[in-house]
Symmetry: C2
Subunit: 188 residues, 2 copies
């Protein structure tokens, strides 16, 4: 009975986000999600190891995108320029994910454990960016300062983006936050 279901992952994702919003994350079971999506638990586990992975499953890929874009920035780029390229590249990948990001953020905001998990995920991105900066020849503490600041800038822009019902321009919000950082650091 293991037949191919069209867009099973997307349907499970959508069903999970709806149920998390309606009942809360803790109160939703994998069975509930599969039923709402018109699929089986078995199909669910083909895509996700547990319900938390619906929210955090792309974490490694998310981190790798930052790292790859930073590693691929021109060697001549100053660290802040290379970081800007990295953040904007990742931001561009979210272009069609505004609705998903909004729903996901609301679920996470309602659950302390999920918020901790999100902090851990972002801390791991910062550590990977710092390591990549060191490979590009940036010394410590500069590498860590840039990496942590970059993740903060990304998160703040991302939160502004999801807070808006209109799908605004995330790369543009990133540029604004980086601009704010430059102005602040210059003492303005």
């Amino acid at each position: 009975m293991s037949r191919w279901e069209p867009n099973a992952r997307g349907r499970l994702e959508q069903a999970a986000l709806e149920l998390f919003a309606e009942r809360g994350f803790e109160q939703t079971t994998v069975e509930d999600i599969a039923t709402r999506a018109g699929l089986t638990k078995r199909t669910f586990f083909r895509y996700f190891s547990d319900k938390r992975e619906v929210l955090f499953g792309g974490g490694d890929e998310f981190k790798q995108r930052f790292v790859d874009a930073l590693a691929g920035a021109p060697a001549s780029a100053a660290p802040i320029e290379a970081i800007a390229i990295s953040l904007e590249t990742v931001a561009s990948a979210f272009r069609d994910r505004h609705q998903f990001a909004r729903q996901r953020q609301a679920v996470i905001a309602a659950n302390a454990e999920l918020q901790e998990r999100e902090l851990v995920k972002l801390a791991s991105v910062a550590a990977a960016l710092a390591a990549t900066l060191r490979e590009r020849g940036v010394d410590e503490p500069d590498a860590s300062v840039i990496a942590e600041t970059a993740v903060a800038v990304f998160r703040i822009a991302f939160e502004r983006w999801v807070a808006d019902t209109d799908a605004g321009n995330l790369p543009e919000l990133i540029r604004e936050s980086l601009q704010a950082l430059r102005a602040v650091a210059a003492g303005r």
Copy 2:
């Protein structure tokens, strides 16, 4: 039998840190801590609600110090200057706590749950600093960018400070990290 024990808090703190390092945080009980300190469980609970509070008990006071120092900075100070005052004020309060901070950091580094808790604590400091900056008239996203960056700078300097067996100068390390931030943001 409730007699006053000289420096009970300090003895419990030291006993807890030794046991966390020797056996691991999970494997240490409140009873173990009290016994090692030559005190009773009852005395332990007079100072701490549980063993985790030995590591995180000062969290609200820690946050409040950042906030008070920022709120008390001259109104004429640029945001980055006001933040520098806040970070250096808090850093000065750690002058005699190098050994404690080193032991505490080692325990936290060995336990994922404690690391999450530390991230949550620092995120809460950043949120409080952003709110205080808004009260000082700083708009968003600048307030959040400065606050998050400030906490990152503090954390990086703090980690360098505890990594060193010599009790170096934490405020000086903070100034170095802030200087790194300025240089980076200026594109150098």
